[in-house]
Amino acid sequence: MISLSPTDLALAALLVLLDAGVSIALRLKLHRQLLWAAARMVVQLIAVGFILRFIFALNNPLATLAIVLVMGAIAAREIAARPVRKFKGLAGLSISGATVALATIVTAGLALTTAIRPHPWYDPRYAVSLTGIILGSVLNSGSLTLDGIVGGVWRERSAIEAQLGLGVEFRIATRPLLREAIRRGLLPIINQMSAAGLITLPGIMTGQIIAGMDPVEAVKYQILLMFLLAGASGVAALSVAELSLRHLTDPRQRLRLDRLT
């Protein structure tokens, strides 16, 4: 392994500054967000490196569960925070929380009990890394879908209310929106799968190859992961779309935009 020095990283960070420069030059108003995101990324990853080192040394199921829960909670918060208009109160967090839990438990559960059977099953080296990757996908598809639903309902409000006023059921009036939002949520994983190996070498695989694993073994892992991620994205998109639409109406099938900020 070639170890990286802080200078190596600092040099690469110049590229982020270049992005910020573009944002300022083109008035994209993104530079603040961009620099903040980059700074956050560095601090988060360094902290995580140390925490994982600690958790791996502990090798305790409760510690593993705790860190998985914290990661899940953060993913849920990020999903709920994405749309421009958010749900009032705790509704957004309950929707994203339920989605994260469902998608992660289904897919990580499947992987840890069938394909990857580590000993002990809670071996943090597998459990934590696996949930981490899955949460990334859930975050991606969940937030895109939620944004699609909330933004779409807001944009199409007069079309939806016109239909409701004529006695069309809420489900039917919002069906095109539901489809569009779920489609948006699934695009990243479709892109990821179709580009894998040709346009991109997926991160996990690259990492394992750099760490010295045989490429074919690394590829098998990557294929398994892609399937898991596809499952997680699908569950997340469907769950977010269903739950958020349900919260945007009531038993009298009204469009409850008053539940958004």
Partner: protein, 161 residues
């Protein structure tokens, strides 16, 4: 409150059928509501009508002065007045016992107003209940309606105002 599109309390019934006893969409089919600003959910005009209703929709649109060309075109080519008249057609087609209309002739020229009022008068004669909001005090008179005026956020009978 009758259309039940915003949260509200109280009871409404039509011909002895209470609002609460029907699923919301079935209730609204009996009291369709046409907003002042019309909403559209598909690209072309005719997609907004059930295939079985197309014939009647065309006939009614023609009566209201919307010709075949706009009817077969995309929604974004329609003028505001055409949109408004077609939105009314959508509600008329339901042949409902009541109609809730918010400024049904707001954006229309006098000729179209006459055409719409002719249809409204026909519906009234057939026993349809029409509840409408208008900014034209004479319109209520022309339709021979019970007129209420909104004064200081309260509805008062026209005579008292």
């Amino acid at each position: 409150m009758v259309a039940d599109l915003d949260p509200n309390e109280g009871q409404v019934s039509l011909d002895g059928v209470s609002r609460a006893s029907l699923p919301a969409h079935l209730w609204r089919r009996r009291v369709p509501y046409v907003a002042a600003e019309s909403g559209w959910w598909a690209q072309t005009v005719h997609e907004h009508f059930a295939p079985a209703d197309l014939e009647r929709a065309r006939a009614l649109s023609a009566r209201l002065g919307v010709e075949a060309a706009p009817f077969d075109g995309p929604v974004d080519r329609l003028s505001t007045g055409e949109r408004q008249r077609l939105a009314l057609v959508r509600a008329f087609l339901l042949e409902s016992p009541a109609l809730l209309l918010d400024e049904p002739t707001g954006p229309l020229d006098p000729v179209s107003v006459d055409k719409v009022e002719a249809v409204l008068r026909e519906r009234l004669a057939a026993g349809t209940v029409i509840v409408m909001v208008t900014h034209d005090p004479a319109q209520g008179l022309r339709l021979g309606a019970t007129r209420l005026r909104m004064v200081d956020r309260k509805l008062v009978a026209e005579a008292e105002a």
